[in-house]
Symmetry: C2
Subunit: 212 residues, 2 copies
Amino acid sequence: MDTELAPRPGAKPAGKREQTKVQNRQIILEAARIVFAELGYGATTVRDIIRATPLASGTFYNYFKSKEEVFQAIQDESALRIRPRLREERAKAKSIEEFISGTFRTFFEFVAADEQNFHAIRRNTDTLRVRMDTPEIIAGFEELREDLETAIAKGVFPPVDADYLMAAIVGVAFEIAERMLRRDPHDIEEAARFATELFMGGVRALPHRKSA
Amino acid sequence: MDTELAPRPGAKPAGKREQTKVQNRQIILEAARIVFAELGYGATTVRDIIRATPLASGTFYNYFKSKEEVFQAIQDESALRIRPRLREERAKAKSIEEFISGTFRTFFEFVAADEQNFHAIRRNTDTLRVRMDTPEIIAGFEELREDLETAIAKGVFPPVDADYLMAAIVGVAFEIAERMLRRDPHDIEEAARFATELFMGGVRALPHRKSA
DNA sequence: GCAAAAATTGACGTTGCGTCACTGTCATAT
DNA sequence: ATATGACAGTGACGCAACGTCAATTTTTGC
């Protein structure tokens, strides 16, 4: 073994204490992701997560106070990854069409890439289909509303009820995302086109299908 | 005590056994409704429900195998109450506009009347917002899709993707319903008008607001 | 009325929960 | 280098809820 390894200049010079703290948190989150995917969220116990970890039960509670909180951390992490992309997409939009289609396309792309996670949540106890919104996800909804209000102020959007419009976009995004994931292959463009045309011109503007 | 009470002719002549079975089921469901409303769904235990009942713990398990199942029964009961109304509303629709507005108005009316129940579900552990769809609720979604397909076949609707359209209607309905309930007073007409106009003509067709 | 069938009861073993006294490790001062 | 105090990890423990089942009570059919 090396006697004394000088820390490389580029490496983060964090103290050992702080380092393992970050590490343990990640160990727990990663174990939880695997266990949730295996058993489904509903059937998973805190003990299952701990067992999938080299840590003791007491240690778990130094980091999270329940499986809900672990779950929330995983979801929030996803939310924090996608939110900047959505904001950017909407900021550079020069029209309603770009605003709407950019939002849906980015969201559906993300969901398709994050499918694993998206599904584990739904697989709950029994046959119940579940959707859970964490604070960071809800904050993403608020960002959408702010962006809508800004766009309305700039005259890009007509002066509509931004709160309801945000709710409608969110509802359509999640519900269509779920249907998209059930189709093989996942056609992101098709889903984005459908949602965009709905918001652009209503039912009559939706793409027509070959077969009735 | 009365020696022998002949059953009144009008009363249902069900055997005692069958009678208490129905009764006990209702006792449990009613207790559960109260407890869910009090503690929120997440915090409630099976024992809490049993305690709110004159029955023994073993009896509970003769009727339901978990609190999830009780919850599901309550939700399914709601779903079975509203589904016929929705079907009827859509069956008598003579245009897209009637189909869409009838669906949303009926749904929002029901949710406003059923607000108690609608809220107890959401109040879960922690700050998580939750939506759970039971089999009967999902069956309601399928009915909507069938009705859409029928309407498309009849030429009332253009030949669009009925699965995605159903998903969009469901998403908007639930998401706007939630927002509507947060407003005081609950303006069912406003919510129905918003959703209907969105589906009739897209964002540009939405009612304009007085103040930006 | 009596015996068989069915439903209710609650005590019991089991499992997961969250805590806390103890132990080991790291950061800092001497 | 070493001492010291602060902090993180450990796992056994008491507790609460779970689901079961043998015993008991109630209902039914004869």
